[in-house]
């Protein structure tokens, strides 16, 4: 694997994470439990779509086949996606959506913090812009997880169920492979495994405040970051997301 091949994979991983999570969050539009949440969710989705444009834009550049961010977003099939499985699981109830957001935001904020010192200026610049947005996402999702975890009996139960369901999807964010080794060697991105300690501390702190119990298992579903085995959910998501581009190829919108 050449450095550019690894770099492309890394960029797709970053961009597909934000693309797919942004899509999932946008599904809530008009259906949130309270108006302020509708606005906040739309805002999160909007930030993630913006970040997608930057990551996938750079991915297209590095790939060098003349593909735009839109080409990459709308014209790849399931196996070409490189997002972690966590971001593609269905929204479930509002509690699961917010728990997923928190578990991702925590990783995302730590990752972007490291990427701000990337040896690649373009990566560093994207990270600098995105990390401000994500700091706000994390503050918000963390607060909501605490509020609902330490709310009523029902909200506590639902948040614990959400955590139990999502926890097996957390480990994949810290898996390392040859792409990561290459990126670490080039100083472009950190080894994901090196983020785990900080993550556990941060997530542990918030979930304790939320009176929630982290499941006692390190088992991790994998297969998204290398595309080997996504969940069945991603294919359904793409039928919607890519519909117009697939049905009317070559049109400009």
């Amino acid at each position: 694997m050449t450095r550019d091949e690894a770099f492309l994979q890394f960029l797709l991983r970053m961009g597909d994470n934000t693309l797919i999570l942004g899509h999932r969050v946008s599904e809530w539009c008009g259906h949130a439990p309270v108006l302020e949440e509708d606005i906040a969710l739309a805002n999160t989705a909007l930030d993630l779509i913006g970040q997608t444009q930057m990551w996938l834009g750079l991915a297209g550049e590095v790939q060098g086949e003349g593909k735009s961010a839109d080409d990459l977003a709308f014209l790849r099939d399931v196996w070409d996606f490189r997002n972690v499985l966590l971001v593609e699981v269905p929204n479930g109830d509002f509690g699961r959506t917010l728990m997923r957001q928190f578990l991702f935001d925590a990783w995302h904020s730590i990752m972007l913090g490291r990427l701000m010192t990337s040896s690649d200026d373009r990566v560093a610049a994207i990270a600098a812009k995105a990390s401000k947005e994500v700091a706000y996402h994390l503050e918000r999702s963390g607060d909501t997880v605490v509020g609902l975890g330490d709310g009523t009996e029902e909200s506590h139960r639902r948040m614990q169920e959400a955590l139990d369901y999502l926890w097996p999807y957390v480990g994949e964010m810290f898996a390392s492979d040859e792409v990561d080794a290459e990126m670490a060697a080039a100083g472009i991105a950190p080894d994901p495994a090196s983020l785990r300690e900080e993550y556990d501390a941060l997530v542990g702190r918030v979930l304790r405040k939320a009176t929630l119990t982290i499941p006692d298992s390190r088992f991790a579903h994998k297969g998204g970051r290398n595309g080997r085995m996504h969940t069945e959910h991603l294919g359904h998501l793409l039928t919607q997301m890519q519909w117009l581009q697939r049905a009317y190829p070559g049109a400009t919108w």
Partner: protein, 312 residues
């Protein structure tokens, strides 16, 4: 008219804003609550037809624009609910009136969005008609409402330009895209004309509302203005207004046009629009499913407040 009423009307005539703590006639208050509430509900329900296409937006940029727009609409809802609250009705109270059908929202949102050009057409026509209604309301007599409208109008005219840009892309695109644009115009033209309400001669509340400066122009004036503005835009796009009798009237200095089918309008108001049932069901589901979230966050806020008191 009592002395109090006289003083109140004098303020309005002198273009002095009425503020929440000022005395006001019960009818003025009730009419405003109905009007502001209905407007707020329209913003909220109005998220649904556009939200219908967010997950199918054809490019990242279009998705971002659409998301931002729907987010703005939720924001408008928020301003307006706040304005209504200054009149003594809580957001939850009027929300429940929406959900059980006691209060209405703009009938235009009971029509479906069926192809991507509808998203452009909603911005162009529906927001266009809304602005036509709302711009004069910036001068309305009730202070909080007037200030909310000033903020809203600024954003709405931005949406309208974006909508026009989106449908222009379609009208100038492939034959299929152009067909979508024409189809959208065909379906949304008359419902947009209906947005101004029935002719004023058929409207019972108009005179009093105009005296109170809750309503500034007649429905027919605004409708004419909208047609006059929109026809040249459609021509520029190469689209055909679905009205064979539409033509410029040199003498009047306005377009003559066919009145919408008001029996359809009353049908939709009664609940028989294509989407009434689904729209209200969606809002009710969001509200019911979200009850545990609202309860949970409230319980947490109370615990925190209690802990703070105990610590002091």
């Amino acid at each position: 008219m009592t002395e109090q009423e006289r003083a109140f009307q004098d303020k309005i005539d002198a273009d002095i804003k009425i503020e929440p703590k000022d005395w006001m006639p019960d009818d003025y208050r009730a009419t405003l609550i109905r009007q502001i509430g209905q407007h707020a509900h329209s913003e909220i329900v109005g998220q649904l037809p556009e939200g219908n296409w967010i997950t199918r937006a054809p490019t990242l940029e279009r998705k971002a624009i659409l998301l931002a727009k729907v987010q703005d609409e939720a924001g408008h809802g928020l301003y307006l609910y706040c304005a209504a609250e200054t009149l003594g009705v809580s957001r939850d109270e009027i929300t429940e009136m929406l959900l059980d059908g006691r209060m209405k929202y703009s009938s235009i949102f009971n029509y479906p969005t069926l192809n991507w050009a509808d998203i452009g057409a909603v911005g162009w026509l529906v927001d266009g008609a809304a602005i036509m209604n709302q711009v004069p309301l910036q001068r309305t007599s009730f202070g909080p409402y007037s200030r909310a409208m000033i903020r809203i109008c600024k954003e709405e005219s931005f949406h309208q330009r974006q909508g026009y840009d989106a449908i222009r892309k379609m009208a100038e695109g492939t034959p299929e895209q152009k067909k979508m644009a024409q189809d959208a115009l065909n379906r949304l033209w008359y419902p947009s004309l209906m947005m101004f309400g029935p002719s004023d001669k058929d409207s019972v509340h108009s005179a009093q509302s105009m005296a109170w400066k809750i309503k500034i122009n007649t429905n027919d004036e605004l409708r004419q203005k909208f047609v006059d503005q929109t026809v040249p835009q459609a021509e520029y796009l190469g689209l055909t207004i679905p009205d064979p009798d539409l033509k410029w009237n040199e003498e009047r200095g306005h377009y003559d046009f066919t009145d919408p089918d008001w029996s359809e309008f009353y049908d939709v108001v009664k609940g028989n629009g294509p989407c009434n049932v689904d729209r209200l069901a969606a809002r009710n589901k969001a509200w019911d499913d979200g009850a545990w979230v609202r309860d949970g966050l409230l319980a947490h806020a109370r615990k925190k407040a209690a802990a703070k008191v105990a610590a002091e």
